[in-house]
């Protein structure tokens, strides 16, 4: 479905939303360890994810790190896709035609249509904050280690 970059970005965002605040920032080491992702690659992804401080915010220097504002946590999960430049990914034709449309549909379009709409609705209505809350409950996992 998503690229590794986007997967890590989603996991990192949810983790930061749950663990950090402007007073308590998270370093890249803590993030990569928690979401079980390659350190340097995750650092690269965090650059994209925090660019413009729209979704995740970052500060350099001692006591610096990554965090999210209360406002950013209320954004839909889709914002992470947008920030990563993957905003088209949910709209694509499942058979790879250049464009998914009602007027020139592929053979799977009619059946796939509702699934696609459900997917878009999920990403547009669910907020980062809501996912972070589930993580806080401890009933859900963000890495493979399940420490």
């Amino acid at each position: 479905m998503f690229s590794k970059s986007t997967e890590y970005a989603l996991r990192a965002t949810i983790y930061i939303a749950q663990k950090s605040s402007e007073q308590n920032k998270l370093g890249i080491n803590a993030i990569a360890a928690a979401i079980d992702s390659p350190l340097s690659f995750t650092a690269k992804i965090m650059q994209l994810l925090s660019r413009g401080n729209r979704v995740v915010s970052s500060v350099r220097g001692p006591n610096g790190g990554f965090f999210m504002t209360e406002k950013a946590m209320k954004l839909p999960v889709r914002s992470v896709l947008d920030q990563m430049g993957e905003d088209e990914v949910l709209e694509k034709c499942i058979l790879g035609l250049n464009k998914c449309s009602e007027s020139k549909p592929c053979p799977m379009h009619a059946e796939y249509r509702q699934i696609k709409l459900d997917m878009i609705r999920l990403f547009e209505t669910k907020t980062i904050e809501q996912l972070a809350a589930d993580l806080k409950e401890g009933e859900v996992y963000i890495g493979n280690k399940n420490k």
Copy 2:
């Protein structure tokens, strides 16, 4: 969602199902032109797709080419994924955890669960033949050119 290889494989299969028969085989040129895919790459994909003659069948030499048996056309679309070695793709965790499961779910699992089941059901119940029938009606497109 799928790799380019799998997208071309799905499109090629549906096209072959609609246009070919054991008496009327399709050459690789005709297939690539119809589904609007790169010729040589498609040839490679057709090798995988026809290996074992499970989904698509192939015959070499004059009047050779690709075709599908009546029986193969009744297979679920999922068989194409299996044949391409992409049989795990529908089962994956949307956040990229090693394993999607009820016992160690990711933060999106609960909401994604139904979408995933819908997707699996679509690929397991819809047959290649059914998709080909829609294509025959001309209400549906398998390439970008829409000739």
